[in-house]
Amino acid sequence: DAMVIQNPRYQVTQFGKPVTLSCSQTLNHNVMYWYQQKSSQAPKLLFHYYDKDFNNEADTPDNFQSRRPNTSFCFLDIRSPGLGDAAMYLCATSRGSYNEQFFGPGTRLTVL
C-alpha cells in the first residue's frame, strides 16, 4: 500500500543533543510537510517542500531545519533540542495544492 512512513516512531534525546527524524513516502507526491503537534493541540506547520523549493513558516525556530534529498525522503533536523521541543512530529505529503494531505503515524520525541 502506498503510504507515508516515519522512523523512528519514538525518539528519546538529551537536551542539546542533535536529533534527526525521517520521513519517506511511496505516493510520489511532490509536496512534503513537517508539523509539530503538542499534547491536546492542533498540528502546527513548521515548513514544507514543494518539489525542491523549501518554504519555512515565519515562526518556525532556527533550531529546526529540513532536508529533502529526493522526492521520496524528507528529514527534520533539530540542532539543539530543548525541553519545549518535546512533541509529536508529523510528516505529510500531498499532490500539489488544494489536495488532501496524507499524514504519517508521527514520531514522538522526548527530550531529557
Partner: protein
C-alpha cells in the same frame, strides 16, 4: 517536557445517534477546507473536504456543511459508532493552497 496543552472541547454522544462537530474559521480568503480524524497515537486521517464554491458535500456517513457568510464549517456523522471516537480537526487553506491551518480540535466520545 512537553508544555501542557489546552483541554479539548468534548462531544459525548450515544452510539447510533448523529454527531455534529463545529468549526469556526477567521480567514475570509480561505477557499479549501478539510476535516481530519486523529486517533490516539496516530497521524490525522482525511475524512472529507470541500471547496468554497460548494456549501455541502456528502461522503459515507459524513456530511460537511460550509457557511461562508459566518465563516462556519460543520461535520455531521450519521449513526455514530464507537470507532468514530477520536479527535476531529478542521483545517483550512487559501492562496497557494499548500499550507493548512488547523482548528483547535474536538474530542468525540461515543458511549456504547
Amino acid at each position: 517536557g512537553e508544555s501542557v496543552g489546552l483541554h479539548l472541547p468534548t462531544l459525548s454522544v450515544q452510539e447510533g445517534d448523529n454527531s455534529i462537530i463545529n468549526c469556526a474559521y477567521s480567514n475570509s480568503a480561505s477557499d479549501y477546507f478539510i476535516w481530519y480524524k486523529q486517533e490516539s497515537g496516530k497521524g490525522p486521517q482525511f475524512i472529507i473536504d470541500i471547496r468554497s464554491n460548494m456549501d455541502k458535500r456528502q461522503g459515507q456517513r459524513v456530511t460537511v456543511l460550509l457557511n461562508k457568510t459566518v465563516k462556519h464549517l460543520s461535520l455531521q456523522i450519521a449513526a455514530t459508532q464507537p470507532g468514530d471516537s477520536a479527535v476531529y480537526f478542521c483545517a483550512e487553506t487559501s492562496g497557494a493552497g499548500n499550507m493548512l491551518t488547523f482548528g483547535g480540535g474536538t474530542r468525540l466520545m461515543v458511549k456504547p
